[in-house]
Symmetry: C2
Subunit: 183 residues, 2 copies
Amino acid sequence: MPDDLTPTARTILGFLALHPRSGYEIREAAKRSVSFFWGLSDGQLYPQLKVLAAAGLIEAAGASEGPRAKQVWQLTESGRAAFLQWLREPSAPLQTRDENLVKILFAAQLDPAEALRLVAERRASFQWFLDHLDTIVPRSTWTEAERSSSGPTPDLIRDYGLGFARSALAWCDSVEATLRSKS
Amino acid sequence: MPDDLTPTARTILGFLALHPRSGYEIREAAKRSVSFFWGLSDGQLYPQLKVLAAAGLIEAAGASEGPRAKQVWQLTESGRAAFLQWLREPSAPLQTRDENLVKILFAAQLDPAEALRLVAERRASFQWFLDHLDTIVPRSTWTEAERSSSGPTPDLIRDYGLGFARSALAWCDSVEATLRSKS
DNA sequence: CTGAACATGTAAAAGGTTACATGATTTT
DNA sequence: AAAATCATGTAACCTTTTACATGTTCAG
């Protein structure tokens, strides 16, 4: 079980652990689920699929015909083992790059009015996120039978995004109140 | 006002906009404030200071003696202009890489017991964060007079971290409940 | 005088994004 | 027949991290 895989390769392994898919399907699934806490770009996805295949962790399921035909990938046995081992390894610490927040913290000390504008920008971006949650992470509307087979995961993602956005918006409220009381 | 600066260079500009400091002081300030939503490593900091100096946006304040003496930097006029312009440009979208969360979402569908372990890992990391918030972002204990000159910023950072960690812990609670009810 | 904290820097590699390029299939 | 979407891929670039390297100052 190679431990020289990139974090992104491991994530791809995770998508294939649920069921076999093509690169494009992984891309779409990533867009609709993990996109807001784990980015996955084309320039990573397709090369990493080849890396995983070369390492014997995934294999083509069925023959692909034509030069650009859809190619479905599935985990090999050692691929599944690598996936399970990944789950047991300590996770990389959470990383965030939040430029808007950095700006707010500098602006608040120099120019409260500018800071208020930046808080408005922040509020808008989280509000947009809430308004489009159904697009980003479709609400699961399955029956109980379907749900038990698919697991609670889609709703967990939604809830996480929801909680995060709400807490960010609440923070915007309190910052606005603080800045306004100073001016 | 060059728009080819890296995001990190702009952040450095922000630190110097508050007051002149040395590279080491920027590093320490970043560690104690923005570290959890904006990483800043040595390998970036010192080279970027030189880039900013070469671009005429910062300059040495006073002479530095000796080969490894402390060097204090301050904004030039055009540096301050570049900083203010940065504040007005649209911010890069929030980016996050949350490996633990990715694992949980895959594991929940395959192995609820493993997922529970991962939620425990998540809980521990956010609990650690809360327990060490005073180290990461020192609580401001200034008088009102001091506070008004320094602005409300340090407390805003604290509050943001606090809200984020609390909402993450609440999510852990609800995921544990969901997963336990399934098994 | 020895170790910890202060202080600055470099080189190489990893990881990721963007833009570009191509072609198939489906819809209008 | 054109446009949108499906589908895969490459090359260049950018940013950031990691590991290394060096010297200073202060406290015990």
